[in-house]
C-alpha cells in the first residue's frame, strides 16, 4: 500500500545495486536517521543517555557479531571478551597520551589481533566446538584482565575513562556522547550493508552455506573465516571502546563477562541472524524487554494485582531473557527481522499475497 514500485527503473548498475532500491524504504531510512539526529532536541537527557545511547552502541556490537555469526556462520560465545579488549586498550592508549581517534583504531586492532588468534586456533572445527573454544576465550581473557593489574588497574578495580575529544569535539555533554555513539552505529551499519552487497560478503556467505562449492570457485575458506573473525573483532573492539567512553565512562571486568557474551548472542538470534535491521531490533528487544517486563510486574505488584517478592522481581530479567531466547528459537527462528520482513512484504505486495510479476 505504501510501497509504490511502478516506474522505478535503473539505467546504471550503480543505482540498481544501491542500498534500499525501493523508494519507500529509502524515505523510511531517512526519516529514522533524521529522528535519530534530532533526538537530543526532543528527548530528555535521561532517555537519551540511558536508552537511546546504549541501544545504539549495543546495536553496533550486535551488528559486529552478526557479521561473524550470521553472515560468515562462525559462532562466537566470547564476544564480550573482544569488546573488553577494545575497551581496555582504548583507555590505556588514551592514558598513554595518544588521541582518542587513534585509540579507537588501536582498540579495534588489538581486539582484532587477539580475536583472530583465537579464531585461528578454533577454525579447524565448527559448530559446538567453536562455541566451546570461544567460550574458553571468554574465560581466559576475563582472567587475564582481572589478574593483570596493569590492565585492570588491580582486581576489583574500576577504571575511569579519561576526558577526550573526538574530531575536536569534547566528549563531555550528553549530546556529544550520543552523537559519538550514533556515528559509530551508522558507520557499522553502512559497513555491514556494504559487505553484504560486495564480493567480501558473498564469499563469506558462500563459505557459510557450502564450503566445498565455495572452494571450487576459488574461495579460500580458512582465509575468509579468519577475515570474518578479524573484521568482526575489530568492530567489536571499537564498539567496546565506544561503550566504555560514551556510556559507562568507567570500566570493570564484570561489564564484559560471560553473561554479556550470551546477551550479545541473544541479540543476534532474537534479531535474526545476519540481518542489519535485526541487530537493531534484537538489541532493543533484549535490552528493553526485561526492563519493560520488570516494570510491568512491579506495577502490577504495587497495584496489588499479584504479589511478587522483590527477589523474584530481581530475577525477572534473567528469566525473561531465557524465555525470549527459547520462544524465538521455537516460534520464529529467523527472529524479529523476519517479522519485520513479513510486515514489510504484507504492504509491499498489497493488496495481493504474493508478488505479481
Amino acid at each position: 500500500m505504501f510501497y509504490r514500485l511502478s516506474g522505478v527503473h535503473h539505467t546504471r548498475y550503480e543505482t540498481a545495486r544501491r542500498l534500499w532500491p525501493v523508494p519507500t524504504d529509502r524515505w523510511q531510512v531517512w526519516i529514522l536517521l533524521a529522528l535519530a539526529v534530532a533526538a537530543p532536541l526532543y528527548m530528555s537527557d535521561l532517555y537519551l543517555s540511558s536508552y537511546m545511547l546504549p541501544w545504539l552502541v549495543w546495536s553496533a556490537a550486535a551488528l559486529s557479531l552478526t557479521l561473524l555469526m550470521g553472515i560468515a556462520g562462525q559462532l562466537h560465545f566470547g564476544f564480550a571478551a573482544v569488546m573488553a579488549i577494545g575497551a581496555y586498550s582504548s583507555i590505556h592508549i588514551v592514558r598513554a597520551g595518544w588521541p582518542f581517534e587513534i585509540a579507537l583504531i588501536g582498540a579495534g586492532l588489538t581486539a582484532a589481533f587477539i580475536g583472530c588468534l583465537f579464531g585461528a586456533a578454533a577454525l579447524r572445527v565448527k559448530g559446538l566446538y567453536l562455541v566451546m573454544a570461544t567460550l574458553a576465550m571468554q574465560y581466559l581473557v576475563d582472567w587475564v584482565i582481572i589478574n593483570v593489574p596493569a590492565i585492570s588497574g588491580g582486581a576489583q578495580a574500576t577504571l575511569q575513562t579519561p576526558d577526550v575529544t573526538f574530531l575536536f569535539v569534547p566528549m563531555q555533554s550528553d549530546a556529544a556522547l550520543y552523537y559519538g555513539a550514533l556515528l559509530w552505529a551508522v558507520i557499522v551499519t553502512l559497513l555491514v550493508l556494504n559487505i553484504k552487497r560486495t564480493s567480501f560478503g558473498r564469499a563469506l556467505v558462500a563459505v557459510r552455506d557450502k564450503d566445498y562449492a565455495a572452494s571450487i570457485i576459488g574461495v579460500n575458506s580458512f582465509k575468509y573465516k579468519l577475515l570474518a573473525f578479524f573484521t568482526s573483532s575489530f568492530l567489536g573492539g571499537v564498539s567496546g571502546a565506544v561503550l566504555a567512553f560514551c556510556y559507562y565512562q568507567a570500566v570493570t571486568p564484570e561489564q564484559f563477562g560471560f553473561n554479556v557474551s550470551i546477551q550479545l548472542v541473544a541479540m543476534v538470534l532474537v534479531g535474526g541472524l545476519g540481518s542489519v535491521i535485526g541487530a537493531y531490533l534484537g538489541a532493543g528487544f533484549v535490552l528493553l524487554a526485561p526492563i519493560f517486563l520488570t516494570n510491568v510486574v512491579a506495577y502490577a505488584a504495587i497495584q496489588g494485582w499479584l504479589s511478587v517478592s522483590t527477589n523474584l522481581l530481581a530475577h525477572i530479567p534473567l528469566m525473561a531473557y531465557g524465555a525470549l531466547i527459547i520462544g524465538f528459537l521455537l516460534f520464529e527462528p529467523l527472529g524479529l527481522a523476519k517479522i519485520y520482513d513479513n510486515i514489510r512484504k504484507y504492504f509491499l505486495v498489497w493488496p495481493f499475497r504474493h508478488s505479481r510479476s
Binding site: M1, Y3, R4, L5, S6, G7, V8, H9, H10, T11, R12, Y13, A16, Y346, V349, W350, P351, F352, R353, H354, R356, S357
Partner: protein
C-alpha cells in the same frame, strides 16, 4: 530496380493529398527532435539488466550512420527491406535508416515460417534484410539457397555470428561504423540524408493478416502516418512526450504507428522490454503513460487480479470486496450519466489509496493516462473493472489501411457498445449496404501491386472497411461485425449473429451460444452454460445438481440466464432482441462437428443437429423432448433423451 508500384488512382501524388507539405516526414521530424530535445530520452531498452538509454541526438545519429552505411552497400530508393525479429532499438534505427534513403522497410513477424518469408521476399522483390539474431539469420540463409537475389542480411545480436559471418551477412554495428566513416568524410552527407525523404514516400510496407489468400502489402506513406497521428492527437488520443512500451510485434501496424510514427511526431520515449517473458516485469519498471493491450490481454489481467485476490489474506480480500464492487457500480452509473455523491467521492478517494492505486501500481499501470484496447469487442465486465480502477480505458477503431487511427471512445461521451467518434480529419459514413466507409489523409492510397483489391477497397477515395455497423445520432460508430456475416430477419432487420453472441458470451455463465433468426420473425438463442461458473454459482446458492444436463434444466439456472439475456437485450434494437431461449443439455462439441477446434460455431451443423429444437423455439412450445446424438470416446454413438425447457423473454426497453 523494382517494378513501379501500381497504385490504382495515382497520377500525381501531390494532387492526391493537396494538404501535405513536401518536407513533412519522419526523418525531418526526427532531426527536429534531435535539434530541439537532444538530451531527452527517445528510447530505452532493458538489456543486460539495466535500461540502456538513447537520446534523440543519439537516435538521429544512429539512423544517419546506418543510412550512410546502407547506401554504401547499395540500398537505394524504393528498395524494399525485410525486417524480422523482436523489438530492438537497432531494428527501429535500421527501419528509419532505410526510410532516410527512401527505401521501404517491410516488417515480418518473428515466428513467420521460412516459406512465408520467402513468399514475401519474392512478392516484394526484396534484396536486403535486417534480422534480430542468429535464429532469424539462419532462416534467411536457408531461404537464400532458393532465392539468391537476397544480397545482404544485416543482424543486430552478435551472438553466434560475430567474427564468422557467412558471405552476405553483416553486423548492424559494422554497417553503422562504415556509415559513420562516410559521414565523417563528407560533411554534407548528414544534411543530404536528412532531406531526401518526402511526405509522399512510402514509410513502411505492412501486410494484411492474410487469413484468405496471400497477405496484401499495405504501403503507408509519411503523410498518412503523420496525418493519422495528428488527427488522433487532436482528439486527445495522444499527448506530447508519452512514455510508451514497445512490446507488440514490429510487423503489427500499431507498433509502427505508436513506436515510430507517433513517437517521432510527439517525442515519446519508447521502452523495449528485455525479453517477451520479462515484459510484465519491465512494464512495471517503466510505468508507461500510454498503454495498448488487446481485449484478451486485459481480460487475462483481470483474471490474474481476481486469482491474486482470491488467494490473498483475509483483510486485504475484505477491503477489496468493500471497494471494488463499489467502484464498478459507481463507474456503471457514471457511464449512465449519474454523478457520484460527495460521500461516494470520498469513499472512492479512500479506495484509491487502499485498493485501486496499489493494484494499478502492481500492474505497472500507475501512471497510465491513456490505456487503449482494440481489435475485437471487450467484455463489459472487463471494461468496467479497469475503468472502475481509475484507468481511463478506451476502445479505438481502425485498420492497417488507415494507420489504425480512425476513431476512439471519448471519455465524456463514452458508451460501451460504440467505438466512439471519428477523429477530426476523418470522415466516416455508412454505405447503402450498411458498411462502414471512411476517408481522410490517413487512409492509404492502395495495396502493393494489387490494383484489383485496391479498386474494391478504395472507391472514390472512400475506404471500404468490410465492417458492418451504424452511426448513432451523436456520430458514435457501432461496429457489428464483418459485412460478410450479415443476415436478415423476416422483417428485413439486418443483424450479425456473432455480434449478439459475443455480447452474450461476455457473461461468465455462457460458454457457447447460437443465435438463430435468419428469415424468422424474431431472434432466439440456444445456450450452452459454462459448467464451471454455473456449477460454482449453484453451489453457492444451494441448487443441487447431478450432471451438466441436470444443471442446465434447473429453473433457477433458467432464471439466472434470463437475467443475463435480458440485460443484453437492453442494448439491442427492439427487432433484434432475443425472445426465446433454450438451455442445451450438453456443450457444443468439436467431436460432433458443432464447433471448430478453436470453438467457432458451425451454424449449418447446429441447424441440422438441433432442427427440432429450433422448430420448438419458434412454435411456442414451452418444452421439447429431444433425442440427442452423442459420440463416445470409443467412437460409438448413442442417443440421449431429454426434456428441454424453453423460456420466453419479455421485450426490454433499449437504451
Amino acid at each position: 530496380m523494382q517494378p513501379e508500384q501500381q497504385l490504382a488512382n495515382e497520377t500525381n501524388p501531390a494532387a492526391l493529398h493537396p494538404n501535405w507539405q513536401h518536407d513533412d516526414h519522419l526523418i525531418n521530424l526526427l532531426a527536429r527532435n534531435a535539434r530541439e530535445y537532444p538530451d531527452r530520452i527517445a528510447m530505452r531498452e532493458r538489456d543486460q539488466g539495466i535500461w540502456q538509454e538513447y537520446t534523440w541526438a543519439e537516435y538521429l545519429d544512429q539512423v544517419l550512420c546506418f543510412a550512410a552505411g546502407l547506401e554504401a552497400r547499395g540500398v537505394g530508393e524504393e528498395d524494399n527491406i525485410l525486417v524480422i525479429g523482436d523489438n530492438r532499438p537497432a531494428l527501429y534505427f535500421g527501419m528509419l535508416g532505410a526510410v532516410a534513403l527512401r527505401a521501404v522497410p517491410s516488417p515480418a513477424y518473428p515466428d513467420t515460417t521460412p516459406d512465408e518469408v520467402a513468399d514475401q521476399l519474392r512478392r516484394e522483390g526484396i534484396r536486403f534484410a535486417m534480422a534480430e539474431d542468429q535464429e532469424q539469420v539462419d532462416k534467411l540463409l536457408q531461404i537464400r539457397e532458393s532465392y539468391p537475389e537476397l544480397e545482404l542480411v544485416i543482424y543486430d545480436d552478435p551472438r553466434g555470428l560475430a567474427g564468422k559471418e557467412p558471405s552476405g551477412v553483416a553486423a548492424f554495428r559494422d554497417i553503422a561504423a562504415e556509415g559513420r566513416k562516410r559521414l565523417e568524410g563528407d560533411a554534407s552527407l548528414r544534411e543530404s540524408l536528412t532531406g531526401r525523404a518526402t511526405v509522399h514516400d512510402v514509410a513502411v510496407l505492412l501486410h494484411s493478416s492474410g487469413t484468405t489468400g496471400a497477405p496484401k502489402g499495405i504501403p503507408l506513406k509519411h503523410g498518412h502516418i503523420l496525418a493519422g497521428v495528428r488527427n488522433a492527437a487532436a482528439a486527445g488520443y495522444f499527448d506530447q512526450g508519452e512514455i510508451h512500451m514497445a512490446y507488440l510485434p514490429l510487423a503489427w501496424v500499431g507498433d509502427f504507428i505508436f513506436s515510430v510514427g507517433a513517437a517521432i511526431a510527439l517525442q515519446f520515449s519508447v521502452n523495449i522490454p528485455e525479453r517477451q517473458e520479462t515484459a510484465l516485469h519491465d512494464l512495471r519498471e517503466i510505468a508507461p503513460t500510454l498503454y495498448f493491450s488487446s481485449p484478451r490481454a486485459w481480460s487475462n489481467m483481470l483474471t490474474r487480479i481476481q486469482v491474486g485476490i482470491d488467494e490473498s489474506t483475509g483483510f486485504k480480500r475484505w477491503l477489496y470486496n468493500r471497494f471494488m464492487p463499489f467502484a464498478v457500480e459507481l463507474e456503471r452509473r457514471r457511464l449512465n450519466g449519474e454523478a457520484p455523491s460527495s460521500g461516494e467521492r470520498i469513499w472512492r478517494a479512500l479506495g484509491e489509496i487502499l485498493v485501486y492505486g496499489p493494484i494499478k501500481d502492481q500492474l505497472g499501470l500507475g501512471r497510465v493516462q491513456r490505456p487503449y484496447t482494440a481489435g475485437e469487442a471487450i467484455g463489459e465486465e472487463v471494461f468496467l473493472f479497469f475503468r472502475a480502477l481509475g484507468l481511463n480505458l478506451r476502445q479505438f477503431y481502425g485498420q492497417t489501411e488507415n494507420c489504425a487511427l480512425c476513431a476512439a471512445q471519448d471519455p465524456d461521451t463514452l458508451k460501451l457498445h460504440t467505438v466512439g467518434k471519428a477523429f477530426p480529419g476523418v470522415e466516416v459514413r455508412i454505405s447503402d449496404d450498411g458498411e462502414i466507409i471512411m476517408r481522410g489523409d490517413n487512409v492509404f492510397d492502395g495495396y502493393y501491386n494489387k490494383p484489383e483489391s485496391t479498386a474494391e477497397t478504395l472507391q472514390d477515395g472512400w475506404l471500404h472497411t468490410g465492417d458492418a455497423g451504424y452511426l448513432e445520432e451523436d456520430g458514435q460508430i457501432v461496429v457489428l461485425g464483418r459485412v460478410s456475416e450479415v443476415v436478415y430477419t423476416a422483417a428485413g432487420e439486418r443483424f450479425i449473429p456473432t455480434y449478439v453472441e459475443n455480447h452474450l458470451k461476455f457473461s461468465q455463465y455462457i460458454k457457447d451460444v447460437c443465435v438463430v433468426g435468419e428469415g424468422r420473425d424474431h431472434l432466439t438463442a440456444i445456450v450452452c452454460i459454462d459448467i464451471d461458473a454455473v456449477g460454482h454459482w449453484a453451489e453457492e446458492n444451494g441448487v443441487p445438481y447431478t450432471s451438466y444436463a441436470d444443471l442446465s434444466q434447473k429453473s433457477e439456472v433458467y432464471d439466472r440466464l434470463q437475467g443475463v439475456i435480458t440485460h443484453v437485450n437492453t442494448k439491442l434494437p427492439e427487432g433484434l432482441q432475443i425472445r426465446r431461449f433454450v438451455n442445451l443439455h450438453k456443450e457444443f462439441d468439436p467431436d460432433d462437428g458443432e464447433v471448430t477446434r478453436t470453438r467457432k460455431l458451425r451454424r449449418n451443423v447446429i441447424d441440422k443437429h438441433y432442427a427440432p429444437i429450433i422448430e420448438a423455439l419458434y412454435d411456442g412450445r414451452t418444452e421439447i423432448e429431444y433425442e440427442a446424438r452423442i459420440t463416445y470416446e470409443t467412437g460409438e454413438s448413442g442417443v440421449l433423451r431429454r426434456h428441454l425447457a424453453i423460456r420466453d423473454l419479455p421485450a426490454a426497453g433499449n437504451k
